[in-house]
């Protein structure tokens, strides 16, 4: 595909921003100023001020001398950077690859995008008129290379669109400034009388390199398309993305559902064709007030089922605030996995962990976003009770070691052992009675001790001697003594679990 790039130049970015925020400033000449070596220097001037001879780099006192009514506002360069970034994000509706070009421009990779607006001219007019309506003074150009687009946007006089192969001609009459060169190189060229790019374009490369360095040749080759130039996109483009611009702004849940279903059908068709399924998906809604709202879902196994993904999104559609209306829907699938083909069961068996219904149910439960957690436990190679199980990573993970039931283990295990008071004969007999939460249990039957050593390579502390005991009412408990007798610790006995 032929590569096409667009460059947008905001001629008065910082002053436009002020004028948008304070409309009364549109009628008066004003400048933005920053302190440089103790003097206030003009960093940007609006059109009215510029027409009266004020330009960037001038000292504010000088400007005020011949233009006494000049308004001076402190410049905040950080805000301009933020504004440029947000404008770049807004431009994502026109192409997925948008790069910021500081201090006052944007670069767009529009390869294969313009036909959606019925041609490059309409595409360019749409962007420029929308930005102008918002109050920004912009120039824009479309060219086969980044360098040419940049140059034509700023210095071009003939027309904003450069066709493929026309780079050389377009650049010919532009000043060397149009090549994005360092200021020292520019000054040297100026001294040598090279006023247009055309004047040195035909010179031998070696001569140019010797006098002006590699930078010039690189920029020239990039502008002419002899060397590739890459943009750093503001947002990395996920490989599985579907976009749906809407003719009229959409404001209703029903409209969002229709758009979502349409996007899902195209995406899922593509996914299932490639034998893949998605694990996460994000629906981004670009509103006409320039903001983007998004909702996301995750699935516990790769899926390409439209109805399932739609149901997950349906739980969250109410979170979208359409405000004045949504003009573009983008569906992204950042996480993609290979899908296991589902085999028809030959005979009816009990549904297992691999059943799609279970996965879809768990997605629904976790997808509601109410703090629901799903766990499945596998045995772990530890004797210490708290560490004898670990959460499984996925639904399909198999236990690495078999479950054991050779030792008594309680059905309910307290999260942290609770201290109890006991009467126990020494050295290591089970207690005769214990008091737990104010109630005295006299022990009738007991098993133990089962000594479980602490794993010194994991943590330090005392070992535990566990007893499985049954009281006079037939209630069964798991209690333990921490460490040996002898040291003067008051609390040594704990209740850790309840047996069935």
């Amino acid at each position: 595909m032929e590569r096409r790039f667009a460059s947008i130049w905001f001629r008065h970015l910082s002053t436009d921003r002020m004028a948008i925020r304070q409309p009364e400033l549109r009628e008066v000449p004003f400048v933005m100023a920053t302190p440089v070596h103790g003097r206030m220097v003009v960093s940007a001037a609006n059109i009215l001020a510029e027409s009266q001879g004020v330009s960037a780099g001038m000292v504010v006192a000088d400007a005020k001398a011949f233009l006494p009514g000049l308004e001076v506002i402190d410049d905040q360069p950080a805000w301009t950077g933020k504004l440029l970034r947000s404008l770049g994000l807004w431009c994502i509706r026109y192409t997925p690859v948008v790069a910021v070009d500081p201090p006052d421009g944007l670069l767009l990779d529009i390869s294969g995008c313009a036909h959606l607006w019925k041609g490059e001219r309409a595409y360019l007019t749409d962007i420029v008129s929308r930005l102008r309506n918002r109050g920004y003074d912009v120039r824009m150009a479309i060219a086969p290379t980044v360098g040419t687009a940049w140059a034509v946007a700023r210095f071009g006089k003939k027309g904003p669109i450069v066709e493929g192969g026309g780079e050389r001609e377009a650049l010919m009459h532009l000043p060397p400034l149009a090549l994005r060169l360092e200021s020292t190189v520019q000054e040297r060229m100026h001294k040598l009388g090279m006023r247009t790019v055309g004047s040195f374009m035909g010179m031998p490369r070696a001569a140019l390199r010797r006098r002006f360095g590699d930078q010039l040749l690189l920029r020239l080759r990039q502008a002419l398309g002899q060397e590739d130039e890459y943009l750093l996109p503001l947002k990395p483009v996920p490989p599985y993305t579907e976009r749906l611009p809407s003719l009229e702004p959409i404001r209703t849940a029903a409209g969002i559902e229709i758009a979502l279903r349409q996007l899902l059908e195209t995406l899922c068709e593509r996914l299932s064709g490639e034998g893949k399924g998605l694990r996460t998906a994000i629906l981004k809604c670009c509103r006409i007030d320039g903001r983007t709202v998004q909702i996301g879902i995750g699935t516990s196994r790769a899926t390409a089922s439209v109805s399932h993904i739609f149901n997950l999104f349906a739980l969250k559609i109410s979170q979208i605030e359409p405000a004045l209306g949504i003009e573009l829907f983008i569906l992204e699938a950042p996480r993609i996995e290979d899908i296991d083909p589902v085999q028809e069961a030959l005979w009816e068996t009990a549904p297992g962990l691999s059943s799609p219904e279970l996965a879809e149910l768990l997605d629904r439960l976790t997808g509601k976003g109410t703090g629901c957690t799903v766990h499945r436990y596998l045995p772990d190679a530890h004797h210490w009770p708290e560490r004898s199980i670990r959460p499984a990573v996925s639904l399909s993970e198999k236990p690495p070691i078999p479950w054991t039931d050779d030792r008594p283990r309680p059905t309910r295990l307290l999260a942290s052992p609770e201290p109890i008071d006991v009467t126990a004969p020494i050295p290591d007999y089970p207690p005769m009675l214990f008091r737990y939460r104010g109630e005295v249990h006299s022990i009738k039957k007991a098993e133990g001790p089962e000594r479980i050593e602490r794993e010194w390579w994991v943590d330090s502390g005392e070992h535990r001697d566990y007893y499985y005991v049954e009281d006079h009412k037939g209630q069964r408990y798991w209690i333990f003594r921490s460490g040996h007798y002898g040291d003067d610790r008051a609390r040594q006995w704990f209740l850790h679990g309840f047996f069935a």
Binding site: T349, R376, R409, F499
Partner: protein, 246 residues
């Protein structure tokens, strides 16, 4: 003769009513009982009803543990052949390795933890609608009639068995559940003269059974399954037999 035919007619009508109420005669796969012996006779058709909601009341932590053990015993039959069980609650106190001693593969239990009780009910209802499960266990405190009715309606379509454990409920009103159980721990069974603690024993009480009769039995657990004692320790009186309690 006339009396006999009348009795036959009444029996037949009762069967029809049961069928209309969702107590269909068991399908071939679920033909096996649950191994509870005499306890199962308390249910209509003499079979533990699957595909309905059962309610378990526990009033102390010890009873809660006994109930969990009993339910794990039930699950070992319900999850026969690779089924999966969902265990829903506000916290996970259940210790999975113990399920192994009741014949359940602990990794086939999926634990779902919700923040509030209302969400537990919602999750339970969603889970009961899902055909891919063998059983759903849910730990709650309160459940009113309307909520239990919703759960019952969900299982009638999906034929999943729902087991609701209610820990120290403040109010035990009537619910739409097929049965209300209470499990209390009893001293373990041990052969005379042997040391240690034997296999668990419970007093299994059926407080309410829809279209069945209530009673109380002593049930133990061995490696092969439930070991019911032959005689019920407390039988519901005959005239109470057909009281509709749901």
């Amino acid at each position: 003769m006339a009396v006999d035919s009348k009795r036959e007619l009444i029996d037949k009508l009762r069967q029809d009513i049961l069928r209309m109420q969702g107590f269909a005669p068991p399908e071939s796969r679920a033909a096996g009982g649950i191994g509870l012996g005499p306890v199962e006779n308390a249910f209509p058709n003499g079979i533990f009803p699957r595909g309905t909601v059962h309610e378990f009341i526990s009033t102390s932590r010890e009873q809660g543990a006994a109930t969990c053990g009993f339910i794990e015993g039930l699950l070992s039959r319900l999850m026969d052949g690779g089924g999966v069980c969902l265990w829903i609650g506000t916290s996970t106190i259940l210790f999975p390795p113990a399920a192994k001693s009741f014949g359940v593969e602990p990794d086939r239990i999926v634990f779902v933890t919700m923040r509030r009780e209302r969400e537990v009910l919602w999750a339970t209802e969603e889970a009961l609608k899902c055909k891919g499960l063998a059983a759903v266990v849910s730990e709650l405190q309160e459940m009113d009639f309307a909520q239990s009715r919703r759960l019952q309606l969900a299982v009638e379509k999906s034929k999943v068995t729902g087991l609701v454990i209610r820990h120290s409920p403040r109010l035990i009103g009537s619910t739409a559940c097929a049965a209300r159980w209470q499990i209390r721990p009893l001293p373990s069974a041990l052969e005379e003269g042997l040391p240690g603690v034997g296999s668990p024993q419970w007093e299994v009480e059926l407080l309410k059974v829809r279209n069945g009769h209530t009673g109380s039995w002593q049930v133990g657990w061995s490696e092969d399954g439930f070991v019911p004692m032959a005689k019920p320790t407390l039988v519901g009186t005959q005239d109470k037999k057909w009281i509709k309690t749901g």
